[in-house]
């Protein structure tokens, strides 16, 4: 199996790895870099538990090869907190009870983060559309929507 050496930045830290062509990005993150906050919930790109930011775009890392991340900037759930301060999305999920088992949560928060970066006052429908690629079995989505709305309000207060 051909091996490739790749360089990538994850949560601001540079990494170098030598990987098989077939290694999925999610496995590189979880097993090689031990960033286990990014989860795996399906094999068909439906559940979104593995969502990360890939050069700023929300991407399902279970259907990206690690080699495709060569030279890219990635943000995972572990990179949301800055200087020991929760991001607005993380705080929104905490305040609004936007999670139960916590398994879909990292992917949901990454998708929510990407949404708020392009639209800081999304409507309920826009939030629902944005997270429609992330499945949650516990919350019925009601409080996830509220969590993202909470974060939107907080973000607007910070950057008027």
């Amino acid at each position: 199996m051909a091996m490739h050496t790749i360089k990538l930045t994850v949560n601001g830290e540079p990494h170098e790895a030598t990987v098989e062509s077939r290694l999925l990005l999610v496995h590189l993150l979880r097993e090689n870099l031990r960033l286990t906050g990014t989860h795996i919930g399906c094999d068909t790109t439906h559940c979104g538990a593995c969502t990360i930011l890939f050069d700023g775009q929300p991407v399902k890392s279970c259907t990206v090869l690690a080699v495709q991340a060569d030279g890219r900037q990635l943000i995972t759930v572990e990179g949301l907190e800055k200087d020991n301060k929760l991001s607005a999305i993380q705080d929104g999920f905490y305040q609004e009870h936007g999670l139960q088992c916590g398994y879909c949560t990292p992917g949901m928060m990454i998708t929510g983060t990407a949404l708020l970066e392009r639209n800081n006052s999304p409507s309920e429908l826009e939030i629902r559309e944005a997270i429609s690629g992330n499945l949650c079995r516990c919350t019925g989505y009601v409080n996830i929507v509220k969590a993202i709305q909470h974060a939107a309000r907080a973000t607007k207060q910070e950057t008027p």
Binding site: H27, G37, T76, V77, Q100, G102, Y103
Partner: protein, 788 residues
């Protein structure tokens, strides 16, 4: 509900933020697949493409030549240790790996152990299995016909596919009531196979330490203690003794009943670790999870309701055929092969009832686990709520009025049901009236009439359900002989903080928060200073686990009772410190004070310190207690749901416009968490009503074996649920609570079906089967000449 503690203490009734969330929102949860042990190997499973086939040969040669593949385990390997079969929780048997034949598609056939998950998958591809297909039995009715292919040929005396017959109620009295009835309505109803599809699949890491002979298994299990005992019973003959088995259930990414059974993968990984002497990780992928893990429902019901012309229901009769797949793998209490199906008289005062259930084997994966509901309660509630509506339709009565007429009146509680239950408490009319008021029922009826006149399809559906949750009591309930109590152990530290361990296991329900609140309520120690642990069988007291909404009714009660034992001892210490007699002390949250001299008091923190530094002569030091709580009865949460749907005439798509859920789960520990549970339960009630089904073609090929075909609701299909509550405490529970996690999954489906039927009732429609997909509804509209 009165709140007795400050927000700092956060006892009962506070919407305290969850203690487990700081780790989850940072991606620092610890799920099974996050654990990596030194030297760990990976397992992947070869699965059968056939639903019923003889295994002629398994050739492992090519697989074993792949660098990194260390072993291929087959049924023959396990047969050497007599581990190729295992018991199900219903005392049936199930193959771990087959020796002679496979009995469902995707059944485990062999397992490959390798140095990485990729190489294990390569190994799976290289294993060559030669099958000889056998006739496949998919339809449970055909399975019971004379001459049907017998599936369980492993059972020596088994000459058919019949598993059990179970019946309850007075057949003769019920028949008489039907003979005398002024009105009888009948309905057949099928509740399809569905799968819980928790976002985390199942998996384990089995780690056998050869030096100490100790087996540690990290496992996605809702019932770690029961699993430990099952392992000891199954593998005792190969030297695995219970004190050397440790099951650790770490963070669980959703359970809903699907993580109660023992799956073959757990057993194979364990056997492999014992043989190889290294930790072995097995994690299912989603397709394996949907295609091979235990399923829920698959009930074919025929119900009849007898009534007077004024709408008074007089009798109920239900006959059911249960498709259990290749093994009776229900996680029911052992005396209840059809679970608690006998709650089918629902919220109504029905004098005569008779129910019978037969179980059948088919060539499908083991069936009969729950899908977020107490044992078979969803099926029962669906049926009674459907026929009640059909009766209203036939009598041209408003469905709300018919329900109000037949509800068990609140004065009749505790109520003895015709099928043998003692309902603890209820006020059904209050819940329904509140739901009607909150949603604006009369205005909706008016709107519906106007829309109908314009040809628009709008429906309003009601469901007034009663659940039965929180098993024990142990005199009636056991799983494989283990009584269904549950447990708590609390230790108060010298500085007045605490650790408490429970026999249950949270899978997202928030036990770390709610159990701490129970202890805070009872002892006045802030919930933030009470650490909760579950899921490690080496440390937690023995319990039966978390499913069937039993944690608060059983382990939560145990927590309160253990705290009360601690309070009793604390009282004696306080009396010693204050130099008064214990009878002269009064308790208010967090302290004992002298009656009539409230300035003379000792806080629980002062008492805790004294328990280790200045305890009375003759008293043992320390401040801790254990309680194994055996509930005197189950709890009976209830509620009334009203659903408003609009149906697209062109496509048949059902859109839930509004859904008002009024729940009553007695006294509430954390309203925020209860609300969240109801939101989730409603979504998992909507899912089978509108979207989810796992069906099979005539060859036993699974349809719906991945998220491509098995449609789990997204945020787009899910409405913004509206909730409210009434509070009718349970009279027998230590703090008046009832289980709640599954109420909404049970109550929601018939509300949605009743709304859809209501939207179509003027066309002569009286019933629609679930899932009510656009296609199914469109076909009805087409038949009625509405759709193009």
């Amino acid at each position: 509900m009165k709140i007795d503690t400050t927000p700092e203490v956060s006892g009962m009734g506070h919407s305290m933020k969850r203690k487990e969330d700081p780790r989850f929102i940072r991606g620092k949860g610890n799920y099974v697949d996050d654990i990596q042990l030194p030297g760990m190997l990976y397992m992947d499973i070869v699965r059968s493409p056939f639903a019923h086939a003889k295994i002629k040969s398994i050739n492992t040669e090519k697989a074993l030549k792949i660098p990194g593949v260390l072993a291929v385990i087959t049924g023959e390997t396990l047969a050497k240790y007599n581990l190729h079969w295992m018991p199900t929780l219903m005392s049936d048997t199930q193959m771990v790996l087959p020796v002679e034949k496979v009995v469902y598609q995707s059944q485990e056939v062999a397992a490959v152990i390798a140095t990485s998950r990729y190489i294990a998958a390569d190994g799976v591809d290289a294993v060559e299995v030669d099958y000889e297909p056998l006739p496949v039995v998919v339809d449970p009715f055909k399975a019971l016909e004379p001459g049907a292919t017998v599936i369980r040929t492993d059972k020596k005396d088994k000459k058919d596919n019949h598993i059990f017959h179970w019946e309850v109620g007075d057949r003769a009295a019920t028949e008489k009531a039907f003979a005398e009835a002024e009105v009888v309505v009948k309905q057949d109803c099928y509740i399809p196979r569905i799968h819980v599809a928790s976002i985390e699949t199942c998996g384990c890491i089995a780690d056998f330490d050869r030096v100490n002979g100790k087996l540690t298994v990290y496992m996605t299990t809702q019932a770690p203690h029961a699993i430990r005992t099952v392992f000891a019973l199954v593998a005792g003959h190969v030297g695995l003794s219970e004190e050397r088995i440790r099951i650790i259930s770490p963070d669980i990414g959703g359970g809903f009943g699907g993580k109660v059974p023992v799956y073959p993968g757990y057993v194979i990984a364990t056997a492999a670790s014992v043989v190889i002497g290294k930790p072995i990780k097995w994690i299912e992928d989603r397709m394996e999870n949907l295609q091979a893990d235990s399923f829920a429902r698959d009930y074919w019901m025929k119900a009849e309701l007898a009534a007077k012309k004024d709408g008074t229901i007089t009798a109920l009769r239900i006959k059911t055929l249960a498709d259990h797949g290749c093994a009776d793998a229900a996680a029911n209490p052992s005396k209840f092969p059809a679970g608690l199906f006998s709650i089918c008289t629902g919220s109504y005062d029905i004098k005569h009832a008779f129910a019978e259930v037969d179980g059948a084997y088919t060539n499908k994966p083991p069936g009969g686990v729950a899908y977020r509901c107490s044992f078979r309660v969803t099926e029962a509630v669906h049926m009674i709520e459907r026929v009640t509506d059909i009766l209203a339709q036939q009598l041209k009565m408003d469905p709300a009025e018919l329900r109000l007429k037949n509800f068990i009146p609140k004065e009749k509680f505790p109520y003895q049901s015709a099928l043998g239950w003692e309902y603890d408490s209820g006020d059904y009319a209050r819940a329904l009236k509140l739901a009607m008021e909150r949603i604006g029922y009369p205005a909706l009826r008016k709107e519906q009439a106007e829309k109908r006149a314009r040809g628009e399809l709008m429906g309003i559906g009601i469901s007034s359900f009663t659940e039965i949750v929180g098993a024990g009591p142990s005199k009636h309930f056991d799983i494989l002989g283990i009584k269904m109590f549950d447990s708590a152990e609390i230790r108060i530290h010298p500085t007045g903080k605490a650790i408490a361990r429970f026999g249950t296991k949270s899978q997202g329900q928030g036990h770390e928060t709610t159990y701490a609140q129970i202890i805070a309520e009872e002892l006045g120690i802030p919930a933030s200073a009470v650490q909760i642990e579950e899921g490690d069988t080496d440390t937690a007291p023995y319990g039966l686990g978390t499913y069937a909404s039993r944690s608060t009714p059983t382990a939560g009660a145990a927590g309160a009772m253990a705290a009360r034992k601690i309070r009793e001892k604390a009282k004696k210490i306080a009396a010693h410190l204050l130099e008064v007699s214990p009878e002269d002390l009064v308790w208010e949250t967090g302290k004992f004070s002298v009656r009539g001299a409230p300035q003379r008091s000792k806080t629980i923190q002062e008492i805790a310190f004294a328990a280790y530094t200045n305890h009375p002569q003759g008293m043992e030091a320390g401040l801790e207690a254990v309680c194994y709580y055996d509930p005197p009865n189950l709890t009976f949460p209830f509620g009334s749901y009203i659903c408003v749907v609009d149906i697209d005439r062109g496509t048949g798509q059902v859109k839930i416009r509004r859904f008002m859920a009024v729940d009553d789960c007695g006294n509430i520990i954390n309203p925020m968490i209860v609300d969240g549970q109801i939101h989730g339960g409603l979504s998992m009630g909507m899912a089978p009503a509108l979207m989810e089904e796992i069906s099979y073609d005539e060859n036993g090929n699974v349809q719906g074996g991945s998220f491509m075909d098995y449609l789990v609701p997204t945020a787009m299909e899910t409405p913004s649920w509206e909730t409210d509550k009434t509070v009718t405490p349970s009279p027998h529970h230590p703090f008046g609570a009832k289980g709640v996690g599954e109420s909404a999954t049970v109550g929601a489906p018939p509300a949605i079906v009743n709304a859809v039927v209501d939207a179509l009732s003027h066309l002569g429609v009286t019933h629609v089967e679930i899932p009510m997909t656009p296609e199914r509804v469109w076909r009805i509209l087409k038949e009625k000449g509405v759709a193009e």
